[in-house]
Each structure stands twice: as C-alpha cells, then as structure tokens.
C-alpha cells in the first residue's frame, strides 16, 4: 500500500498583527511612503487662506469674550434658571469630538483593526485640539475667569481645598488627565515619524534642528522599537478606559443633579456613545477633504472610510437606543415631572431642537446601511456635517429644556443665545481649526512608520504579491470601480 506523505507546511512568520487586516495596494515601497507623506507638508495658498479664516474666527471669539469680561456674564443670554447655555453645550460638544480620536488611535489599536492605521494620526490630533478647545469653555463660563485655578487642589495660604464630592472637581481631574495622556500618546507615536522628517530635511537648517530636538535622538534601533511598541501598547491600554471615564464624568455633571431629564443612570453610556458618534462625524469632516487636497486617496481608501462609516452607524444605533430608552423610562417611571418634561421637549417649546437632533442622529445615519452610500466620500462628508449639527443640538436639548422646565411652573422660561454666545462658538471652531491647520503642515497626518508596517518589505526572494526585477511590487490595478475615488 502506497503511503501518502503529508506535505510539510512551513510555518509562516507572524505577520505584523496590528495592521494585518489592511493593505495599501497602490503603495509599493517605503521610499514612496516617505516621499508622498512628507510631500503633504508643503504649504499651499489654500492652506494659508484656511489658516487666515481660522484666525479671523478666533479673533471674533476673543473679541466677544473680552466684551463679556468687561460687561459681565449677562451679555451671554443666560435667563434664570437657565444658567447653563451655549458654553456648557459647546464644552460637552468638543469633549465628545475628542473621543473618536482616542477610540480610533487606542481602542482600535488594541482590537487590531487595520483600517485605523492611515486615519488615526489625524483623529488623535483632533482629540488633542478638541480637548484644548473644550477646556476653555468652563473658564469662559466663569464670571471671574481668572479664578479658574481654585478648582485645582494645591496647598495654599487660605488652607482651603476644593470639594472632592463635586462633579465639577471630577471634571477637572478627568479633563486634565485626558489632555495629558492624549497629547503624550500623540507625541510618543510621532517620535519615529519626526526622526524620518529629521533625516529627510535638506532645505531648512532651523526645521532640521527642531526635528532633531523633537525626535529625541531616535535612531530606529531594535532596542528602541521593542520598548516603544510596549509603551505604545500600555498607553493605548490606559487610554481605553480613560476615554470611557471622561465622558462618564462629564455626564455626572448632569446626572448628579435632581433636574428632570438629567437625573438618570443611563447618562454615562449614553454620553460615551454620543461622544464617539460625534467624533466620528468630525473625523469624516476633516479626513475627507484632507485625503483629496493632500492627494492621499490611496492611503485613506474608500475601504477605510467604509469601515469607519460602519462604526459611525453602530454608534448612531446606540445613541438612538439611548434616546428611546429615555422616553421609555420617563413613561415607565410614572414620574409626572419627568413625563411632562419629555412631552415639552418633544412636542412643546423645544420641538424644533428635538426634531433636528433626532433627524440628524437617528434618521439620516440609517442611510449608512446602504453600502453604496458608505462608499461615497461625498455622502459621508454631507452626513458628517449633519452628525456635527445633530450632536451639538443633542447637548442643547439636554441642557436647555431641562433647566427651562424644572419642577416649579412659575420657573418655566425660555432661552435665546446672544451674539456673544454665537461669536464664542464660532471662535471655538477658529481656535480648533487654527491648531489643526498648523499641525497638518508641520507634522505628518498619516503615520509614516505604521504605514510602512503594512507595506510589504523588499525581499530577496519573490513572494505571492509579485515583485519586478528591481524588487518593486507590481503596479496595482484597482479591481473595484471607484476604490480610489
């Protein structure tokens, strides 16, 4: 009887797990990665115009704030008992924006989701600048903003300390930690890329010197990479619960109060899901024009946008579920104040704000069930705008209707933001955009070292992808129409 010998299967080497699920077929080698990503750093006229617009918006905000400091908080449209308005709404909005960045850079890193590789740097920078923006708003909201440091516990001559049972003090700790860890995570990830910029900088000795200092003498040794990979993993692992905690703590600002619509245990997960949803919207708003202007559609492909859109759809469903749960609990609780408040929120004086919220956050994102729309950059860009608007109004609907319709009918009132509120809101977008515009022309918005991990390395022996005589990968022919659209 003939014996059948089983063919010996050579055990393949372990792939780079973090990026195993994604490939960039139109990126052939490391030289191309360096050339194309560093090429995005050249300033253009459109960039200068964009920066100018951002600075003008910021100046508008600064002017309004100066006027408010000089005149008093009364110019901000507060109408007792509605003493939280646009500033707190916008504070929660910007904190939420930051969350998607950490989700993409840290949580998806731990989950080994390959599609994050080319978009995470952008999202991470967005997080840092969004938190920088959000942190301004509690200060803007203060009548005497120069006293903001009273919230920070430090030994002082007055022998007084903050109230550690107050959610406002929890906020201070949560936001300072979030900002510190997010910016550290961003910077640590940037070090190898700054080393690439240092080594490739041939024109400006000043830039070279700055990159040399910022790269901390990084040399790409095996020892450095080994510790870097471990440190990056731990920072991601620490950032993951942090991102969940920060918006939970922000939600406690509301949930700890005995106000109708606020005093509910669903707020922490509801806020976290909403934060990630809004952040995904902002990621699309930023990344879709960038990939076009920077000519990096073959890095941030439609496949990546498709995967991110599924995430946005999922978080939209979570948020929708939370909205429905709120209605259910109001009805099921039998609490008359809660029921009347919800009726007022949906059918009463705030119906228009609720309609915007539900349309933008629950209805329109359902279109992302359609694959064709998920793979349309134009539609994603439009949807991203509606998500941004919807999520700002979500916070409006949380803050204003509750305060304007509390238990005592004689307290029921309305709220109308003033030009100062609107100017500071616009100024916050200017502040955020200014930092982002400066970032994208100084440092790479696509992680060079991580992209190189997913580009097949040059090998002496040919492998299944096929290489030409010079060791370069064959030119990629997109087989899906519109893949690089």
């Amino acid at each position: 009887m003939a014996t059948v010998t089983k063919p010996v299967r050579e055990e393949p080497r372990r792939p780079n797990i973090a990026t195993a699920a994604v490939s960039l077929p139109a990126v052939r080698d490391f030289e191309q990665v360096d050339r194309e990503i560093i090429g995005t750093l050249r300033p253009t006229l459109a960039w200068f115009i964009g920066l100018g617009v951002a600075v003008l918006a910021l100046l508008l905000g600064i002017t309004a704030w100066m006027y408010q400091i000089y005149t008093g908080l009364g110019v901000a449209g507060y109408n007792p008992p509605v003493m939280w308005g646009v500033y707190i709404i916008t504070f929660v909005f910007w904190i939420g924006i930051g969350h998607a960045g950490t989700l993409i850079s840290a949580i998806l890193y731990l989950f080994r989701a390959g599609f994050r590789t080319t978009i995470y740097r952008c999202a991470e920078a967005m997080t840092v600048f969004a938190v920088m923006t959000a942190a301004l708003f509690p200060i803007l909201h203060l009548g005497r903003p120069w006293k903001f440091f009273w919230l920070i516990p430090y030994p002082n001559w007055r022998y007084i300390w903050p109230q550690f049972k107050s959610p406002l003090v929890w906020d201070v700790f949560a936001i300072l930690t979030y900002f510190t860890i997010s910016s550290t995570f961003l910077y640590i990830g940037l070090i190898p890329d700054i080393a690439v910029l240092r080594d490739r900088e041939k024109v400006s000795p000043i830039r070279k010197r700055i990159f040399t200092m910022l790269s901390l003498g990084w040399r790409n040794t095996d020892n450095e990479w080994r510790h870097f990979a471990r440190a990056y993993l731990f920072l991601a692992a620490l950032s993951t619960p942090l991102v969940l905690s920060v918006h939970s703590v922000v939600s406690f600002d509301f949930a700890m109060a005995l106000t109708p619509g606020w005093h509910t245990t669903i707020f922490p997960p509801y806020f976290v899901a909403g934060a990630i949803f809004s952040g995904m919207g902002m990621v699309f708003t930023i990344i879709i024009p960038l990939r076009k202007w920077f000519g990096v559609k073959h890095y941030v492909t439609i496949n990546h946008l498709d995967a991110a859109a599924k995430l946005a759809l999922f978080t939209s469903l979570l948020v929708g579920c939370a909205y429905m749960n709120e209605w259910f609990v109001a009805w099921f609780s039998g609490n008359e104040a809660e029921q009347q408040f919800f009726a007022n929120r949906i059918w009463g004086q705030w119906w228009w704000a609720s309609s915007i919220l539900y349309t933008c956050n629950m209805v329109l994102p359902l279109s992302l069930f359609v694959q064709k729309l998920r793979r349309s950059a134009a539609w994603l860009f439009i949807i991203s705008f509606t998500i941004n608007i919807g999520m700002w109004f979500e916070r409006f609907v949380i803050v204003v209707p509750s305060l304007s319709h509390e238990f005592e009918p004689w307290q029921w009132t309305s709220y109308r933001p003033t030009w100062v509120d609107y100017s500071i809101l616009i100024g916050s977008f200017g502040w955020f955009s200014m930092w982002f515009m400066l970032f994208i022309k100084q440092l790479p918005v696509i992680a060079i070292a991580e992209v190189k991990e997913i580009v097949p390395p040059k090998l002496r022996t040919a492998h299944e992808h096929g290489v030409d005589a010079a060791g370069r990968h064959f030119e990629y022919e997109p087989d899906t129409p519109g893949e690089f659209a």
Partner: protein
C-alpha cells in the same frame, strides 16, 4: 566603540545575516529598521521589555495618591454633603482612577525613555539616515580581529554597503 556597519535593501537578507552573526557569535549586534518587524525581533530574541514594570508601579502609586488626596483633603476641610460620610470612597474612585491613568501613563513614558536610552543628544556611532527611510542596518560591535570576518559574513548575505566605524 569599534565595529562594522552594514546596510541591507531587503528584509530577508538582514534577517539571514543576523541569524548567521548570532550563530557564529561575532560581536554584539544592533539592528536598525525603519519599522518594527517581527522577523527581526524573532531573530534577535530579545527579552520582554521592562516598560511594563514602570506602568504597573506608576499606576499603583497614582491610584493610591488619587484616593489619598481626596480622603486627606476631606478630613482636613470637612464638608458634609447630603449626610454622606466625610471621606466617601465611592465618588473618590473617580480620583483614584484618573490619577492612576495619569501617573501610570507618565511612568510608561519614563519607562520608555529609560529603557530605550532616549532622549539622546548625539547620534550614536553606526547610524545612517537611510535606516529611517527604507533600508535595514546591522551594527556589529567587535574587536578589530573579528571585523574582517563580520564584513565577509555581512557581504555574503547581501549587504549593499559594509563599512567600519569607530
């Protein structure tokens, strides 16, 4: 510090050269790579990074400090809220957690800096800007009498350039 530096275009050439160097036990080897590769990591066979200890110790210290500052301040400046105990551990978990993440994260960075020997003011002997671009490098620190053997071995495994440095 005297040694031989070799540059490789191909990853598998560098891995083969590395394995051969280890087999022949020629000098102390350091590898330069534009991006981390498991192939090189396995060939080097380095022990696990010590960064994790920094993270653990920093996290534990941070957590302890977070609870301690809240409890100590509450006892020092007692404010009764809602009839709850002066030092209520439940809300203070927020501080324990946040400071754990803060100190744990910063300790991780300190662990990276200490273990990877950065920041470094001067570039080390044997570095070449190509190694952040696309090439792989192997630096073999060895006495002069072994340098010739190292050079031959590296060339034999496909090094595009081999040079001695000190």
């Amino acid at each position: 510090m005297l040694g031989v530096l070799a540059a490789f275009h191909e990853l598998d050439s560098a891995v083969d050269a590395l394995e051969a160097l280890k087999k022949q036990n020629i000098g102390a080897v350091r590898v330069f790579t534009p991006t981390p590769r498991h192939e090189l990591e396995e060939a080097i066979g380095a022990p696990p990074s010590g960064v994790r200890r920094f993270t653990l110790i920093g996290g534990l210290l941070g957590c302890t400090f977070g609870y301690w500052i809240a409890i100590w301040v509450s006892d020092w400046w007692p404010l009764v809220v809602g009839g709850k105990p002066i030092a209520s551990w439940v809300p203070y978990t927020v501080f324990g957690f946040e400071v754990m993440v803060l100190i744990g994260g910063l300790s991780t960075v300190a662990g990276l800096f200490i273990n990877a020997r950065i920041p470094r003011i001067t570039m080390m002997v044997g570095y070449d800007p190509r190694f952040s671009h696309g090439d792989y490098g192997i630096w073999v620190e060895c006495p002069p009498e072994q340098a010739r053997a190292a050079e031959d071995l590296l060339k034999q495994h496909g090094a595009t350039e081999v040079r001695r440095e000190r």
